[in-house]
Each structure stands twice: as structure tokens, then as C-alpha cells.
């Protein structure tokens, strides 16, 4: 083992902190620290706020049931204010100062990539509980959100059967949108279809007039929107205002995740097709019970969305692993998490795939109707086959990269 300056600083500063904080670090029965970095305000708060509430609720429920290993869970939550710079800052704070035992957090793919390596270096298990573009291959990182193979493929399949083969793609201009657009193209071509054009938009673009005209002149059979955030919501509004929502069908890989269907009026949102892990309309007892508990704790259940549920399920999965391992030791926990462990959540079974550290999930294809996500079709236990095609952590445990699809 080479002894670098960085390693020296890391080990000595750790020792110094150990001396300074004897009770927190070693006290018997001290709380287990669950770190969380989420956008609780700003442009992305529609995603983040419910996730923060879900984190609180998960921790409270675990504590009410006696905690883990006889210890309580303490949530250390930082609001990253939709500012990517704050992610790096708070991730280091969680790793160095707070010395948390696990981290559940990050919303955009940009934020995940900003913090993932920090926790890997610090040997702190990191759970990313949000739908994303797939491909992350890192033994320290566990993903409980959907990937394109799970949620994009079925919706491309259905939209092509229903509407036709020519698609126009609009996507957010950062790694999520860029890579998701490639996956959309991949699945469209696999089924003999074609992507007429792909346009990318930075997160603050709010004027889609020229784009809507361009779509009309391209005459696609359907439009696929992988748009993200409050400003991009204008697209759906302007699309409806030009009357196009009655002419060309639209499907989206992100719509509903930020409760977009509540921000739009029924006339603007109706008919948009989406696919994902969760709908509030799910009639299973576990979902009804979850919503009832949420209502009791926070009042408004309308804001519960897929990634809030994913966050809740991610924490529950981690808690189950801690119980089974009987320890917080990273290696022991990873062994349990790589044993095919699963939990039943409000959105169905979440089963961790040992080779990819991604979860198999129940997927629903849904249609927006009267500000609700009505379930049209369900595909149970879809595996993360996109990531599995290139990532095998059982074989290459030291892998640390994100694979992309090649077309």
C-alpha cells in the first residue's frame, strides 16, 4: 500500500476527530446517523421536499419500532437548495464532520455524481433512491430508483404500438437527459422506429415556442419528453396552449415524479403517458396504509411522488440489511445487500440485484387523467437489465464508473 499525502491527512484528521468527539464516536447506544442531502428548496424543491419528509417518516417509523441494533436513528439532513456546489460541500461535511453511518440522498444525476466518489472514498455506504439514466457501477453505491430498461423500454414499446414509429425527443441538458435520450433512441430503433430529432434544454429554459413549431414541421407520431424541473414545466403548458396536446400524443420519462400533474390543469395534463415505479392510485393495502400514515404525520398526501416513495423504500431496505447483518460494518452490510435481499414497499417489492447494486422493481404504465396517474398496465419485477449488460460487481468488485449505451 502506498502511503500518499492525502491518505496521511485523511487518517490523521480522522484520529484527531476521534479524540475530539469520544462520546459521539464510541459511546454505547449512541444514535445511528443517517445522512441525507436533498434539495428542500429552489428549482428542484418539488422533487426534494417530499423526499425529505419521506426520510423523516422512515426514520421515525424505524425508531418507533425500537430502532436498529437497539439504537435510535438520527437523521442528519442538509438542504442543498438546488445548488450543485452545496452538494459537494455537504457531502464532505457528512463524511468528515458528522461521520454518518449511511447516506441516502441526491436527486439529479449531476448531484449524484458530485457526491458519489466522496462517500466511496470515505467508505460510507451510499443509497441513491431516484429514477435515473442507469449504468452506475460502484460497489459502494446502491440504487433503488428505476433505470431506462425498467421504465423507458415499456413506455417506448407501448407508444410505438399505439401511435407509430416516428418520435421527436426533448430532453434536459445534463447527464440524465443526454443519456436517457440515447436509451430512448436505442429502444425506438430496436423496434424498427426512428428518432426524427433530439433537442436538449438547460434547466432554466422556459420558452418552447420555436421548439413546438419545429415539432409540428417534423410531424412525429409521438413526442418523448425527458424534461426536468420547474422551468421545463412550461413546455407542457405551452404545448397545451398551442392545442398540440390534442394532435400529437406525448409520453414522458419524468412527468409525475415532480408532481407535474398537479401543477398543470386537467385540460393541460390529460393524456400524457408515463411509466414508473409508483402511483398514488395503487390500491394495494401497503400503499393505502403508507398514505394514511403520511397523512397523519404531514397532512397533505397529494405531494407524495415516486421518488419520495423510493427514498422511503431505500431506507427501509438498508434498515432490513442492518437487522439481518446485526452490524453496521460496511463489509457485512454489503454481503447482506448482495444476498438477494428485498423489502415490500408502497410501490411493491424492491429486490436488490447483487451483480449491479440496482433494484428489481414493479413498473406501472400510467396515464395522466384529471390530475391523477391512472395505472393502465403493470410489469412486475423488471430487472435493471441495461446496467446488468455492462456491470458485474460480483466479478469486478473494484469497478467504479458509469456505463452508457452505445448506439
Amino acid at each position: 500500500m502506498s502511503f500518499s499525502r492525502r491518505r496521511f491527512i485523511a487518517s490523521t484528521s480522522g484520529a484527531a476527530a476521534g479524540i475530539a468527539l469520544p462520546f459521539h464516536a464510541f459511546g454505547q447506544g449512541a444514535a445511528i446517523k443517517l445522512g441525507s442531502v436533498l434539495d428542500n428548496s429552489g428549482n428542484l424543491d418539488a422533487y426534494g421536499k417530499p423526499m425529505v419528509q419521506a426520510t423523516t417518516m422512515a426514520a421515525e417509523e424505524i425508531n418507533a419500532a425500537g430502532g436498529l441494533l437497539g439504537r435510535k436513528i438520527q437523521v442528519v439532513q442538509y438542504d442543498t437548495q438546488s445548488d450543485i456546489a452545496l452538494y459537494t460541500k455537504y457531502a464532505q461535511q457528512l463524511a468528515r464532520d458528522d461521520k454518518v453511518d449511511v447516506v441516502h440522498g441526491g436527486i439529479t444525476s449531476a448531484s449524484r455524481e458530485a457526491i458519489r466518489q466522496t462517500f466511496r472514498r470515505a467508505n460510507i455506504l451510499y443509497f441513491y433512491n431516484v429514477l435515473y439514466e442507469g449504468g452506475v457501477c460502484d460497489r459502494n453505491c446502491f440504487v433503488t430508483g428505476t433505470t431506462p430498461a425498467q421504465a423507458v423500454e415499456p413506455i417506448v414499446e407501448i407508444s410505438q404500438k399505439q401511435w407509430g414509429k416516428k418520435v421527436y425527443v426533448l430532453a434536459a441538458d445534463y447527464n440524465y437527459g443526454q443519456i436517457t435520450a440515447k436509451w430512448v433512441a436505442h429502444y425506438v430503433k430496436q423496434r424498427g422506429g426512428s428518432v426524427l430529432q433530439t433537442d436538449f434544454f438547460p434547466l432554466d429554459v422556459a420558452d418552447f415556442g420555436s421548439t413546438i413549431a419545429k415539432i409540428q414541421s417534423a410531424k412525429p407520431d409521438s413526442v418523448c419528453a425527458a424534461l426536468v424541473g420547474g422551468a421545463h414545466l412550461s413546455f407542457f403548458r405551452q404545448w397545451a396552449a398551442s392545442g398540440m396536446n390534442k394532435k400529437i400524443p406525448l409520453y414522458s420519462t419524468t412527468f409525475g415524479v415532480g408532481n407535474e400533474h398537479l401543477a398543470l390543469s386537467p385540460a393541460e395534463g390529460d393524456g400524457i403517458l408515463i411509466a414508473g415505479n409508483y402511483s398514488q392510485e395503487e390500491t394495494t393495502p401497503s400503499n393505502k396504509d403508507f398514505l394514511a400514515r403520511w397523512g397523519k404525520r404531514f397532512g397533505d398526501t397529494k405531494i407524495v411522488h415516486e421518488i419520495a416513495v423510493s427514498q422511503y423504500q431505500g431506507i427501509m431496505l438498508w434498515a432490513e440489511a442492518v437487522r439481518k447483518a446485526g452490524s453496521l460494518d460496511r463489509e457485512k452490510l454489503m454481503k447482506v445487500l448482495e444476498s438477494g435481499i428485498g423489502v415490500q414497499g408502497p410501490a411493491g417489492l424492491v429486490k436488490m440485484d447483487p451483480a449491479t447494486h440496482h433494484a428489481s422493481l414493479d413498473i406501472k404504465v400510467m396515464e395522466v387523467k384529471g390530475q391523477k396517474l391512472t395505472i393502465k398496465q403493470a410489469f412486475n419485477q423488471r430487472p435493471p437489465s441495461d446496467t446488468a449488460a455492462s456491470c458485474n460487481l460480483a466479478k469486478n468488485p473494484n469497478e467504479n464508473k458509469q456505463f452508457e449505451v452505445t448506439i
Binding site: 434544454f201 420555436s210 409540428q216 403548458r237
Partner: protein, 288 residues
């Protein structure tokens, strides 16, 4: 052919949009030389007024055309009385003060309405241009912006108040010696500028939706339009709106909206290099 029509309408819309969001700033900057960094927040509050009055059951047209300018006008009056009037002639101080004000307003709106996107449906149906569907609301924006420029020009050029206001801006001492109180004129000019910003916010609200931070969407575009336009309020704003609007949309159609914005900003830099006093510093010198 239809496509050309669509492109033309989108260009008109972008010009109208730029003129609309810049008018309030142009009045305040062009006539009083006050750089109002809280301009974007005035626009944003106009939008919020419209959306929340509409939610309270008030007719949307009344909310955007009357209430939004009224509320923001009153806000502008308060701001002028409390802050701006102490800072005339001190440009840097005004910038700092209005910047602080903009942060304060973003914070207050976040506190009151929450940091979540709000929106209201556009109250006009779409229409057909050949094979294309267009948002009918864009036409309304073109109309309102044209009307606004016309009224502004008539007021400044042909009314007594316009004459006095222009006179006071040119030389406050002379206006004062003729019996007009410059303080009073500044006050009403700032209020009028704020009301125009509120109107712009109200009219734009159905198209974009709003966040407390939405002011930043407008401020940059409004600023480059006004600065490039130069000191003449109407001809300057119109000239730069036309140039920027056309360039932005033509490039957007040719490539992507992102490149369109970049082209517009690049052009602004070039224009300001060539004409540091703005377009009206070189051409149309004696216009309003």
C-alpha cells in the same frame, strides 16, 4: 410557406416579449438613470399577483391587466419613498440597494407562497396557421406589447405630464425653477416603471409559470435590451427588441433555443463595443 409564417409570428412574439419585459426598466433607467436590479422581482410579483388573484376567483383579465400593475405600482411607490429617493445620483449605491431589495423580495415571496412552481392556464385558445397550431396567447402578447409602446409614446410625447417628466430628466434644476418638484416627478416615474413591470409579469404568467426565483429569467434579457437600446426609452427599447428578438428566434429555429440565446448575448457584446452609448446614442438621437 406556412412554416415561414410560423417563424415570422414567433419572431414577432419574441420582439413583443422583450419590449414588454424591458419597458418598466427602460422608463426607470432611461429617464432617471437608476439601475433597478429588483426589476425581475417586480415582474415576478406581478405574475404572483395575477395567479393568486385568479385563484381567489377574480377574473384573469382583470387580475393581469389591472391588479398586477396596481399592486406592483404601489410596491414601487413604497420602494421609491423608502429607499430609492435617498440614493438619486449614486448609481452604485442604488444598484446595491436594489439588489438587496431583490433578495428580500425573493425571500418574502418564498416565505408567503412557498418555493414551488405555480401556474395558471392561458385564457386564449390555439389557432391554426396552415398546417400548424399556434398558441393564441402569443398573439395577445404581441397586441398588448404594441399597444403599450404606443401609449407610452403618446404619453411622453403629447401630454403635459410627459413633457414635464422629460424636462425634469434633462435638467432637474430648470424644471425646479419653473415650479415643478423633481422629487415628485421622480416618484411618479418610478411608480409608473414599476407598474409596467407588474403588467409584464401578469401578462407573462400564463406562459411560463412562476417560482420566487423567476425574476432571474427576465432580468438579464431586460437589461441587455435596455442597455443596448440606450437612453431613449421607446425607440431604444424597440430597436434593440427587434434586433435581439429576430436574431434569437432565427438562430433558435436554425439550431436550438440555447444557441439562440447565446447568439443574442454575443450580439449584445458586439453592439455595446461598437456603440457604448447604446443604439440611440448613435442613431435616432432626438427620439423619445
Amino acid at each position: 410557406m406556412d412554416y415561414a409564417g410560423v417563424v415570422f409570428l414567433e419572431i414577432l412574439y419574441m420582439i413583443a416579449f422583450l419590449a414588454l419585459i424591458s419597458a418598466g426598466l427602460a422608463v426607470v433607467f432611461g429617464m432617471m438613470r437608476v439601475i433597478n436590479l429588483a426589476h425581475g422581482e417586480f415582474v415576478m410579483i406581478g405574475g404572483y399577483t395575477t395567479i393568486f388573484c385568479n385563484r381567489a376567483g377574480i377574473d384573469i383579465w382583470f387580475a393581469m391587466l389591472v391588479l398586477a400593475p396596481l399592486v406592483v405600482g404601489i410596491l414601487g411607490l413604497l420602494v421609491e419613498r423608502i429607499v430609492i429617493r435617498h440614493l438619486y445620483g449614486r448609481m452604485i449605491d442604488t444598484m446595491l440597494a436594489t439588489w438587496g431589495l431583490s433578495l428580500l423580495m425573493v425571500g418574502l415571496v418564498t416565505l408567503i407562497f412557498g418555493n414551488t412552481a405555480v401556474s395558471v392556464q392561458a385564457p386564449i385558445q390555439s389557432y391554426q396557421v396552415g398546417a400548424y397550431q399556434m398558441g393564441g396567447y402569443n398573439l395577445f402578447i404581441i397586441a398588448i406589447s404594441t399597444l403599450l409602446m404606443l401609449v407610452l409614446w403618446l404619453v411622453l410625447r403629447y401630454t403635459r405630464f410627459g413633457l414635464i417628466a422629460r424636462g425634469a430628466m434633462q435638467n432637474a434644476d430648470v424644471a425646479s425653477s419653473l415650479g415643478y418638484n423633481p422629487q415628485r416627478i421622480y416618484m411618479w416615474t418610478f411608480t409608473a416603471g414599476a407598474a409596467l413591470s407588474g403588467l409584464a409579469g401578469g401578462v407573462m404568467a400564463p406562459l411560463t409559470g412562476l417560482l420566487p426565483s423567476s425574476g432571474s429569467l427576465y432580468i438579464a434579457k431586460a437589461f441587455i435590451t435596455v442597455i443596448t437600446g440606450g437612453a431613449a426609452v421607446i425607440s431604444g427599447t424597440l430597436a434593440s427588441s427587434i434586433i435581439f428578438g429576430a436574431v434569437n428566434q432565427v438562430v433558435s429555429f436554425g439550431s436550438t433555443p440555447v444557441i439562440g440565446e447565446i447568439a443574442m448575448l454575443a450580439l449584445a457584446i458586439i453592439l455595446l463595443r461598437l456603440m457604448p452609448q447604446g443604439i440611440t446614442g448613435r442613431f435616432f438621437r432626438n427620439s423619445t
